[in-house]
């Protein structure tokens, strides 16, 4: 059984806590979830990236980030910076 719908529009932060095989690390970027339709089954969002979308994809592929991302509604980069600084987790912010 699966749910199927397009996600609502709004400002988003796309992030991922991962590890590079030895240490934790965090990846983040921001964008706008756009008004879109469910043109394939499943749950989906179409996001206009604030950063260059190809640069973000290249970061993921070139540096071995895990393939799952988390799309969070709202802009939380300052909070992530504080969290990562506190926990001594390096943050890769793609701007």
């Amino acid at each position: 059984m699966t749910a199927g719908f397009a996600l609502k529009p709004g400002r988003v932060t796309v992030l991922r806590l991962g590890d590079d095989g030895q240490n934790l690390r965090m990846l983040a970027t921001t964008g706008q979830s756009l008004e879109t339709e469910m043109d394939v089954r499943g749950t989906l969002a179409r996001v206009a990236f604030d950063s260059n979308v190809v640069a973000f994809l290249d970061e993921m592929l070139s540096h071995g980030w895990e393939h799952h991302l988390i799309m969070a509604y709202g802009e939380i980069v300052p909070e992530l910076e504080l969290l990562c600084r506190t926990l001594h987790v390096p943050l890769t912010l793609v701007k």
Binding site: M1, F5, T13, L17, M38, A45, V47, A48, H68, M71
Partner: protein, 158 residues
């Protein structure tokens, strides 16, 4: 996995049937869901919720892709969607760190997030599609468009 499947199969029929109608209510279209599949769906949600409550788990992840379908007969995406809507952080495909990222995102935003794959890029419009097989909480659905609870991801929606 076998523990959850056994628990789901042992949920009392009256609980399953009562939960089924509640779980399907948020969707605009449930025409593909027959009673048998709907019962499996509801029993899985109840089994996972009970399991988390007994263990006092804030979060869990389900090894849903492949294993669950083979062992139980339905995909777990819809159950993951529902559990997240209930506030029980549930990640896909055994992704522990992804589930932990969901917890962080929820704590920082107050809104339940979406665990997803990054499936396509459009260079010209600088956009990308974030898609996952039916696991986002329905509270994130755009109310301007219809939502569906379906048996499979296979068919294109007409």
């Amino acid at each position: 996995m076998q523990t959850i499947v056994t628990r789901a199969r042992n949920i009392a029929a009256d609980r399953v049937q009562a939960a089924r109608s509640d779980l399907l209510k948020p969707f605009d279209d449930t025409s593909e869901v027959n009673d048998a599949k709907g019962d499996l769906f509801a029993a899985l949600v109840l089994a996972l919720r009970d399991f988390a409550a007994e263990g006092q788990f804030d979060a869990m992840t389900l090894k849903c892709w492949g294993d669950l379908v083979e062992a139980y007969g339905i995909a777990g995406c819809g159950a993951v969607s529902q559990l997240n809507d209930m506030g029980l952080f549930t990640g896909c495909e055994g992704d522990v760190m992804g589930t932990l990222t969901m917890l962080i995102a929820r704590r920082l935003t107050g809104v339940h997030p979406f665990l997803t794959d990054f499936v396509s890029v459009d260079r010209e419009s600088n956009t990308g599609v974030l898609w996952h097989g039916g696991c986002a909480p329905i509270s994130l659905a755009n109310p301007a468009h219809p939502s569906i609870c379906s048996r499979t991801l296979r068919a294109a929606r007409g």
